[in-house]
């Protein structure tokens, strides 16, 4: 599955350039954060890596494979919550895998304990709050023991305590040996979580650097402007 390599990958719906000439290599550990302004194509890139969006331009490979395998999991900004119990929702991702029903429920329960939702296991999942829904979606993804977890702005519109809980879970998933690739607008969150940052602007990867280096000394002007606009009270770079 690793390294995941993108070479000259582009995306042009109806002739309009969203992504162009994306060259990127992702290794199998740590948390990589995809940063960039709205509409720059972060979600499209994530969907390509998940295998949801066909690559019409360039080449995308997952190790030696030309398509992702079952070791990829993804959590969306608005996760799918079925009209079923929290436990059934947590066990859902294991349905296509070779686990018996009892094993699925045991593992789902274990994951719910890890994300702090074990006491809600029998409740209807649709009654959960936004933060609890994201924790449930993370538990569902974690339960399949993925090697790559893709997160599309998992904390958008959550309150600070919910964000904190979700970030703790993401760290736990990383500690379990899973590579995490995540989009976010939240620079504070990126500084807390990222091992490396991939900065997208104008449809291209402008920078791919270790997080400390990226936030201390961004090389591209686009990255500098983005960071200064988002955190003007914290960061002033020498021009």
């Amino acid at each position: 599955m690793f390294p995941i390599e993108l070479a000259g990958v582009g995306f042009r719906p109806d002739g309009q350039c969203v992504l162009s000439g994306i060259d990127l290599q992702l290794d199998g550990d740590g948390i990589s954060i995809l940063l960039g302004p709205n509409g720059v194509g972060k979600t499209v890139l994530l969907r390509m890596i998940a295998g949801l969006q066909p690559v019409s331009e360039g080449r995308l490979t997952w190790g030696a494979a030309s398509r992702p395998d079952e070791a990829v999991a993804m959590v969306f900004q608005q996760p799918m919550i079925l009209r079923a119990s929290v436990l059934d929702n947590a066990a859902l991702g294991m349905k296509p895998l070779a686990f018996g029903r009892r094993e699925r429920r045991r593992r789902a329960h274990e994951m719910l304990e890890r994300v702090g939702l074990a006491d809600r296991a029998a409740d209807s999942a649709r009654l959960l709050s936004g933060g609890e829904r994201q924790r449930l979606a993370l538990a569902r993804a974690w339960a399949v023991q993925p090697r790559l977890l893709l997160l599309d702005e998992p904390t958008a519109s959550l309150d600070p305590s919910a964000v904190d809980a979700v970030e703790d879970i993401i760290r736990g998933i990383r500690t379990d040996g899973c590579k995490v690739l995540m989009t976010t607008h939240n620079l504070g969150q990126a500084t807390r979580l990222a091992d490396d940052v991939i900065f997208l602007a104008d449809g291209r990867v402008q920078e791919h650097a270790p997080a400390r280096q990226f936030f201390a000394r961004p090389r591209s002007n686009a990255a500098r402007r983005f960071i200064q606009a988002e955190l003007p009270w914290r960061i002033r770079f020498d021009e």
């Binding site: 969907r47 998940a50 295998g51 949801l52 079952e70 990829v72 999991a73 993804m74 969306f76 996760p79 799918m80 079925l82 009209r83 079923a84 859902l92 991702g93 349905k95 296509p96 895998l97 209807s124 649709r126 009654l127 399949v144 893709l150």
Partner: protein, 231 residues
């Protein structure tokens, strides 16, 4: 008019044997047709919702169009198929409740399939990316979506029951309206009205309305419970 109504109520109150037989046969035929129709219509609709193939849109339009299939046309087709010289004549089903079940099933399958397709397709649009990443096959996706939409799909089943129970043309043709054999509520109402025996026709009409109302009330309460339970 009032006398007729009282006579109808007396028939109902005394559990008149003829009336009970007709009601029981109607329920048996229509509910069997809907159960069998659901076994075909639900998966067919769900498959149409998630499948991608050339000609899918044409098939969707066809299934939607068949919702308005005239029952007498179905009656004639089933009659021809089951008549002695027809392809299934050797089964000896013509003028039996079995023939009526087949005719009603043919009427409810497109209705259930079309409504299921619409309900499941809306859910599929929302869930498809996650189910695909999880590696769900089409069959597993269909199963998951049908289960998730189960309360909305009740409406499709109700519509099927309504269509089956209120239908008169097809069962008249393939059943023959034989007393104590194939006479159901709708055909009995038509016959008794033409004979001028209005009390029985009105009593059967009251039962028919009561059954439809009871089913709708049950569906309403199930949906309300589901809304509370599953938000």
């Amino acid at each position: 008019m009032i006398d007729t109504l009282f006579a109808a109520l007396r028939l109902l109150g005394s559990f008149d044997r003829t009336l009970v037989d007709i009601v029981w046969l109607s329920l048996r035929v229509s509910l069997t047709a809907v159960v069998l129709g659901a076994l075909i219509g639900l998966p067919l609709g769900a498959w149409l919702a998630v499948a991608e193939f050339r000609g899918r849109n044409l098939l969707v339009v066809l299934v939607n169009g068949l919702m308005g299939l005239p029952s007498v046309v179905v009656g004639v087709v089933v009659y021809l198929a089951l008549s002695r010289s027809g392809p299934f004549g050797s089964l000896g089903l013509l003028f039996s409740p079995g023939a009526m079940v087949i005719a009603q099933m043919m009427l409810v399958v497109p209705l259930i399939a079309a409504l299921t397709r619409q309900i499941v397709e809306d859910a599929w649009r929302e869930y498809a990316p996650e189910l695909r990443v999880m590696g769900f096959s089409r069959g597993q996706s269909m199963q998951t979506l049908i289960h998730d939409c189960r309360h909305s799909l009740l409406v499709a089943l109700l519509a099927g029951i309504g269509r089956a129970m209120s239908e008169v043309g097809a069962v008249m043709i393939v059943g023959g309206n034989i007393d104590h054999v194939t006479r159901v509520m709708t055909t009995a109402i038509a016959l008794e009205t033409s004979k001028g025996d209005l009390p029985l026709a009105i009593a059967l009409g009251i039962v028919l309305m009561a059954v439809v109302l009871a089913l709708n009330a049950a569906a309403f309460h199930i949906r309300r419970w589901a809304m509370r339970r599953y938000a």
